[in-house]
């Protein structure tokens, strides 16, 4: 039987067919859908964990018990999970283990473009690199088998394009695999010296064996063209983009990009005059080949950043002299009006950032939908790096300010998902070495879902979803840490929220404000829409500046000046615009 599946769905299917038992993830684009799909299969324990480190640990536990286990996350999530990963990989693997990392060449929805093949290598893992949905499914199964055979953890590094792309996939039945159970063996599973001494040699040997296996493994495909003097070494989607060009060159397509068989590459380098490496992002395969003493070229011709399309590949091969004529003339795009993302109609983040913008305070942001407050329409938060980072950065900047005699307030913004993910240790640190000059305001936007990735469960979700088993009360949690000045506010009561936030920034000490409205995308607001009375509107544009999709200036018949307007089809009736209007021109319809 066949079906059309995305790369993500195919990974889930592969894990299911391979008899996988334990899977965990933290939602992050581009891999979110893997776990969402897994939750639909019977016989698998599947969870969204509070962060990637916990997710990895859950999978490690499954693998230690001798069951097949998988953990999936976006590329930057692996950074969070690095600590257990780097030590766990020293152990001989019991049940097949695979870490799926979703990389994002071109950064469609990520804060950096790190190439996690480098992490896989660093962690002594074999790395599979699929280019289609069928390969995504097949490689997961092979990775789990090899993981058990070579006692090695495996990585599947998959790019966002392949995660989201659909293709036809051959489906198989689930193979029921009985967990082997956990056998106590401290030498294998307790990583203290001297056990770790041996482990270094074990890992080295394990990769060497895998490299030997790679020589004629079925997942590395050699397509030779009679008389060709150029060999292109590639992997993943780049193979398929290259095939579009239909060139008379030989291709060595690596299903597993690490380790690469030295013997195979030496043989090929004897046969071919030119070896060109085609890969997105870092020169990973290219560097591997160069370390093996293979003369090859790659990043001279292809960009180290962004996606590589068929047109880019053609251009690179033209520069390399492999082809003499070009079919495509680049990939010129239409230059027109930009469309940056924006807060949804009724988004509970909107009033908070409108208030902060008007207060003109320095805001340390974080990762979530509220990251969009950095966009040109708002410019309302001024630092944004990584999950949970706002808390520590705010404290550090506050300390530097106070030591320098700067008395200005500083505001930190964090969502509930991010709070549970990695904000907690930062909050614990807040009451350590408090100075009376401190002035920090922490706003926790508790919309009770992981909104940016599509509204997944988190530890606060039970507040609005009675089917969810977690409802951790953030206020009680912070109280237990010794943080006392905590206020909860409904941010759709604009003036009250503004007064509380303003007061907090004016007071010394640590203030925490928890906003209470849920995500408007997950919990739709269905109130009568608002409209503008153009006779009252003074064209001040205060409402336009809250940047809500239905609000814009328009020409009314018989009125010269442009007046504000609200598209009734888009307005959900949250009332924020009517509350910022200084003259009461925005009214609710009935």
């Amino acid at each position: 039987m066949k079906a059309v599946l995305t790369g993500n769905q195919a990974i889930a299917r592969g894990f299911y067919e391979a008899g996988g038992l334990v899977a965990a993830s933290y939602p992050g684009s581009p891999t979110v859908e893997i776990m969402e799909t897994l939750k639909g299969y019977d016989g698998i324990y599947a969870e969204f964990s509070p962060n990637e480190k916990v997710a990895l640990e859950v999978a490690i536990g499954g693998s230690l018990y001798g069951s097949r286990a998988m953990v999936s996350m976006k590329h930057v999530g692996v950074n969070i999970a690095m600590d257990p990963l780097m030590t766990f990989t020293q152990s001989p693997i019991n049940g097949g283990f695979v870490l799926v990392s979703g990389d994002d060449p071109g950064m469609a929805s990520s804060q950096n473009e790190q190439d996690n093949r480098i992490i896989g290598r660093f962690a002594n893992m074999g790395i599979f690199y699929p280019g289609s949905s069928q390969e995504a499914k097949d490689f997961i199964k092979i990775a789990l088998e090899l993981s058990e055979r070579f006692k090695t953890p495996m990585m599947m590094d998959i790019t966002s394009r392949v995660c989201h792309s659909r293709g036809v996939v051959e489906l198989g039945e689930r193979e029921e695999i009985k967990a082997k159970g956990f056998t106590r063996d401290q030498e294998k599973y307790t990583m203290l010296p001297p056990n770790t001494f041996k482990a270094q040699y074990f890992m080295k040997e394990r990769i060497k064996e895998l490299e030997e296996y790679a020589y004629d493994a079925s997942f590395n495909i050699l397509e030779e063209v009679e008389g060709a003097d150029t060999l292109i070494v590639t992997s993943g989607l780049m193979y398929y983009n290259l095939k579009e060009l239909n060139l008379p060159v030989s291709i060595y397509k690596l299903g597993m990009v690490y380790p690469i068989s030295t013997r195979r590459m030496k043989e090929l380098s004897q046969k071919y005059k030119n070896i060109i490496v085609l890969e997105e992002m870092m020169p990973f395969i290219e560097n591997e080949l160069k370390l093996k003493g293979i003369d090859c070229k790659g990043k001279e011709y292809f960009s180290f950043t962004g996606e590589l399309f068929t047109e880019d590949i053609e251009e690179g091969l033209y520069k390399a002299g492999v082809i003499q004529e070009r079919k495509y003339k680049g990939r010129d795009t239409v230059k027109t009006v930009a469309r940056p993302p924006m807060f949804c109609s009724g988004c509970p983040h909107r009033p908070v950032f409108d208030i902060l913008k008007k207060l003109n305070v320095t805001v340390i942001g974080d990762i979530g939908c509220y990251s969009m407050s950095v966009l040109p329409a708002w410019k309302a938060s001024h630092v944004m790096y990584s999950m949970g980072a706002t808390v520590g950065i705010t404290k550090g900047m506050n300390k530097a300010m106070r030591k320098s005699g700067d008395k200005k307030p500083i505001v930190s913004i964090i969502g509930d998902g991010t709070f549970f993910h990695s904000g907690l240790p930062g909050f614990i640190d807040l009451i350590h070495q408090v100075d009376e000059e401190d002035n920090m305001t922490f706003i926790i936007l508790n919309n009770s879902t992981t909104a940016m990735t599509g509204g997944q469960h988190n530890a606060a979700s039970g507040r609005f979803n009675n089917k969810d088993d977690m409802q951790v009360d953030i206020k009680s949690l912070l109280n237990a840490m010794g943080i006392e000045n905590i206020q909860e506010v409904d941010q759709f009561e604009y003036k009250k929220a503004r007064d509380i936030i303003r007061q907090a920034t004016r007071e010394k000490g640590i203030s925490v404000i928890i906003t209470t409205r849920p995500c408007a995308l997950k919990y739709k607001i269905k109130e009568p829409h608002f409209y503008v009375d153009p006779e009252i509107c003074i064209s001040c544009r205060t409402c336009v500046k809250v940047n809500c999709p239905p609000i814009r200036m328009k020409k009314y018949e018989g009125i010269d000046e442009l007046k504000s307007s609200i598209d009734p089809e888009e307005c959900v009736g949250c009332s924020v615009c009517s509350q910022v209007c200084p003259v009461g021109a925005i009214k609710r319809s009935q």
């Binding site: 659909r166 940056p340 336009v544 940047n547």
Partner: protein, 189 residues
């Protein structure tokens, strides 16, 4: 039949489901198919685009520049933005409902009406108010199904297969409305 179809719209317009329905229909018609769609940050009112490639053999899900046969524009500006992928003389199905991006809402730039009109000089453009047609069919939420009906007219896959895929991909309550919406689109051309 080798066809390259581009879909362009605004985050939240249902482009991912439309891409799914088109690709599953092609698959059920016995074609090989690959698709792309962009999700993530773009979901929140940003630009989104997808592609469906169908035929005997499909390597990459990406449509190279100037190889698009049909562009389904869920929104006019977004159709214009992705028109560089189209063959000269290709078909553009253009939903006329404008969704204004932030720079227009903030009066920094005008919505590019004239440039969008200019598409007619290079491509076969069919304009439709898909929401109105869907309303006539019984629910404005079926607007994308109207556009899919128009697309079906330009392809050669039997309507029974389209119907079957639509049935399998919309809520049971909405099946009749969507089938009606499909035929309103199909007969529009």
């Amino acid at each position: 039949m080798n066809k390259n179809i581009i879909l362009a719209g605004v985050g939240g317009q249902g482009l991912v489901l439309a891409t799914k329905i088109i690709s599953e229909t092609a698959f059920r018609a016995g074609l090989e198919v690959k698709t792309n769609d962009v999700i993530g940050l773009s979901q929140r009112g940003g630009m989104v685009w997808g592609s469906v490639r169908m035929g005997e053999k499909v390597y990459s899900p990406n449509i190279p520049a100037k190889e698009g046969d049909i562009l389904v524009g869920l929104e006019p500006l977004e159709a214009f933005r992705w028109s560089h992928l189209m063959k000269d003389g290709g078909h553009i199905i253009l939903n006329t409902k404008e969704v204004y991006p932030t720079p227009v809402l903030l009066e920094e730039v005008d919505y590019p009406h004239e440039e969008i009109e200019g598409l007619e000089n290079r491509y076969k453009v069919v304009k439709i108010n898909a929401r109105e047609e869907a309303k006539e069919a019984g629910n404005i939420k079926a607007a994308n199904t109207v556009l899919i009906g128009m697309l079906a007219k330009l392809l050669t896959i039997p309507n029974s297969i389209w119907e079957e895929t639509i049935r399998d991909n919309v809520p049971p309550k909405a099946i009749d409305v969507n089938i009606q919406a499909f035929y309103r689109g199909y007969n529009y051309l």
